[in-house]
């Protein structure tokens, strides 16, 4: 069976490095996957501790950059569910991110109206941040339902504009509802997980006061981020292999055909929206805890576009690809910061180069750096091949080869 599949001329040929790695990985036995995967993750996790000479950023702390990367990776995975898997163009994803961040900030910041001097916030104590995270996910999920129910009936570019409007509305609300969100001055002193307190770090290792040395707060947030990314990847991976994931791909490939074949498209689009929103809320909560400060400036449309760029750059629909995309959009601008060429700081031109790179990439590699394998198309081709071969199977092999 396997040998005939390998010779099958209709079988898709592996293209590019992404497919080669994928084929190799899928060919490994389960035990080997663990034996290779766990050390790989440990090596990636240790990067900011080791600070490898060429990779390390010079102007900003490498640990903090990597923490930002982990957070952006979460966003990219969430947005990938909406854009890459389901094919819904969402330009206002930053809105969900903002909602998640503001939920945590409102629950724990002293500047929040929910805070008072005797009881502090609704949540307080060392595990307050953790208590806020599920709340942030649930509330952003509800926001996803609120936005999705009326708007998911419009399609394509219209959906892009409606979501863009939503993202701007969230930012403007955060900016202008000054009695609740403290307006442009933002909410300060957002709580964070207070664990690992000792004499050197009285607020625990996750506090931004822990800024010296190799194991600074960036590294800790990076590790937390990796754990969250792996958890989310497992959940999303299981979803993708389920009926829900197949419906998403069907909707992405052809919404009308999916509807006719009996896929309740609206229901599954809403699912994608809500799950994407929930992951956005989670990353917002991580952001709020990490920087301990939330203000509307972090949630502009530009950021929304950057997140979308991470997804498209990495390869829509490919989970590991979009993580690579998130790494590029976070790491490259941080890497060029502080480098001077001919008396000219490169960091000034980072978005200029970024824009040029986007255009060039879209022209020469529109599928992104690590394109997703078009699973349904693959199966379709195999079925086509099988059907075509069916009558030939009765005839001798020599004839089939000549045909």
């Amino acid at each position: 069976m396997n040998s005939s599949a390998a010779k099958d001329p209709n079988a898709p040929k592996p293209r590019g490095i992404g497919d080669a790695i994928r084929t190799w990985w899928n060919g490994l036995p389960r035990v080997m996957q663990w034996l290779v995967g766990v050390p790989a993750i440990i090596v990636i996790g240790l990067l900011p501790v080791v600070n490898p000479p060429i990779i390390t950023t010079t102007a900003t702390d490498f640990g903090v950059v990597m923490a930002t990367f982990a957070m952006t990776a979460l966003i990219a995975i969430g947005l990938n569910v909406v854009v890459g898997q389901t094919g819904l163009l969402d330009l206002g994803y930053v809105g969900f991110y903002a909602v998640g961040a503001y939920v945590v900030a409102l629950m724990t910041s002293p500047a929040s109206p929910l805070w008072n001097s005797t009881n502090h916030g609704i949540f307080s104590g060392p595990w307050a941040w953790l208590a806020c995270v599920p709340l942030a996910i649930v509330i952003t999920g509800i926001t996803g339902v609120i936005l999705g129910t009326p708007t998911l009936r419009v399609r394509g570019d219209y959906l892009a504009i409606v979501t863009l409007g939503f993202g701007e509305i969230v930012r403007l609300l955060a900016d202008n509802l000054s009695d609740v969100t403290n307006g442009a001055s933002g909410l300060q002193a957002v709580l964070f997980p207070e664990v690992g307190q000792n004499d050197a770090h009285p607020d625990g290792v996750f506090s931004s006061a822990n800024n010296a040395g190799v194991l600074n707060y960036g590294v800790w947030w990076y590790w937390l981020g990796i754990v969250l990314v792996i958890l989310v990847l497992i959940i999303i991976g299981n979803l993708e292999r389920s009926r829900v994931g197949r419906s998403w791909v069907a909707i992405r490939e052809d919404e009308d055909a999916a509807e006719i074949m009996g896929v309740p498209t609206f229901k599954y689009k809403l699912w994608a929206f809500v799950i994407g929103a929930g992951i956005g809320g989670l990353s917002g909560a991580v952001y709020a805890g990490q920087v301990q400060y939330v203000d509307p400036k972090a949630f502009t449309v530009i950021n929304s576009m950057l997140f979308l760029c991470a997804v498209v750059l990495g390869g829509q629909g490919n989970k590991l690809g979009v993580i690579a995309g998130a790494f590029l959009i976070v790491y490259l601008p941080a890497r060029v910061q502080g480098i001077e060429v001919g008396g000219q700081s490169l960091s000034e031109f980072k978005y200029l180069f970024f824009g040029i790179a986007l255009v060039v990439l879209m022209i020469f590699r529109p599928q992104g750096l690590f394109p997703a394998r078009a699973r349904l198309v693959t199966f379709g081709r195999r079925i086509y091949g099988a059907v075509k071969r069916a009558p030939a199977a009765t005839t001798p092999h020599g004839e089939e080869a000549s045909a």
């Binding site: 929910l114 009881n119 949540f123 953790l130 403007l172 202008n176 009695d179 449309v301 760029c309 986007l358």
Partner: protein, 346 residues
């Protein structure tokens, strides 16, 4: 972890002031002001709507074309010998009109060539490779970054005197001082308002005439409707697309001049962004791909957001625009007048 109840909810007050009286008192003034902004939105919206009609592409970089137009007319005024002092020049009506026309021409030239260049550099290679719509969108975003950052960082480094670009707005050249001309129902009408609304209307109507009555317009409509059939009928698709971008760019340049007349202090690299998004809202509102729809959508958006800014408070001006957009799309997904450019007239 300790969970407390919400003790002090009284401090949570809304900052929305629902003031219908202000709307009632200043209704005509607000309408005229709204129409002024609305006609500028409408001109930019035509650029979005034409490109969308022909290519099914949201040209997100169009807001940067508009921004370059603002710089273009500014350079025009500098070349005519004006110095940015912030004071109003008194040149006499006739000469002012001549200067305005010349500055407008410069703005239109810069915007028009920027739009055509954008098509040539960014979109044409993608069309040749038959890319997916999302690739076009990402390219548009990329070009938007490139143009903004060019004005932000590269332009100020060029040896130009006085320097252009950078992160702060250009020093103001004020050519026309707002003078009250007459009143409508007690609301003053300024000369600027008249210039903006009348010239915007003339340009929009001219574009509409061109699309509906001329040979070129029929070519654009045919490409919008069915590119392959149009090609078989001898319409050059590439040429039509170029001309479409050119028209959009030229109108954005004109809008840039009108906008800087009204708000002379906003010539800066990010100055086109919000206006571009709102103009796109206007195009969608009226029915994207529909030139009359863009005009109607622009005027409606301008007026409604001006009403909203008084009723709800000035900080909610942009929110009104987006909420209006979402509401219209919920009930009429193809906009008020519907998509038209690609539809056959029967």
């Amino acid at each position: 972890m300790i969970v407390y109840s919400i003790a002090e909810t009284a401090s949570v007050a809304s900052t929305i002031n629902f003031d219908l009286g202000a709307l009632k008192n200043g209704f005509w003034g607000l309408t005229i002001e709204g129409l002024t902004y609305g006609s500028i939105y409408a001109l930019v919206a035509v650029g979005y709507t034409l490109v969308y009609g022909v290519l099914r592409l949201i040209n997100f970089a169009h807001s940067e074309v508009f921004m370059l137009g603002m710089f273009g007319q500014y350079i025009g005024l500098l070349l005519l010998g004006f110095t940015p002092s912030g004071n109003t020049y008194s040149e006499g009506t006739f000469m002012t009109i001549i200067y305005l026309l010349l500055a407008g021409l410069c703005g239109m030239a810069v915007s028009g060539s920027a739009a055509v260049g954008l098509e040539f550099v960014a979109y044409r290679p993608l069309r040749k490779r038959k890319a997916k719509p999302l690739a076009f969108l990402i390219t548009a975003i990329g070009m938007s970054f490139v143009l903004q950052e060019f004005v932000h960082y590269v332009l100020p480094k060029l040896p130009i005197d006085p320097p252009l670009g950078g992160s702060s707005a250009q020093p103001t050249i004020r050519l026309v001082q707002p003078v009250k001309e007459f009143s409508i129902f007690g609301a003053p009408v300024y000369n600027l308002t008249l210039i903006i609304i009348i010239s915007a209307l003339i340009l929009a109507m001219g574009t509409d005439y061109m699309i509906n009555r001329t040979r070129l317009g029929r070519g654009i409509q045919s490409v919008a409707q069915d590119p392959d059939a149009a090609l078989l009928m001898g319409v050059s698709r590439e040429r039509i697309i170029m001309i479409t971008f050119l028209i959009g760019g030229v109108l954005a340049g004109a809008a840039a001049l009108l906008y800087t007349l009204r708000v002379p202090t906003n010539i800066v690299y990010y100055g086109g962004f919000i206006l571009g998004i709102k103009a796109f809202c206007a195009a969608v509102l009226g029915g994207i791909g529909n030139v009359r729809g863009a005009l109607l959508g622009g005027l409606l958006l301008g007026v409604m957001e001006n009403y909203g800014s008084v009723v709800l408070g000035n900080q909610w001006k942009d929110v009104v625009a987006f909420v209006l957009l979402i509401l219209v799309l919920m009930f009429r997904p193809t906009g008020i007048l519907g998509e038209k450019l690609g539809k056959a007239r029967v």
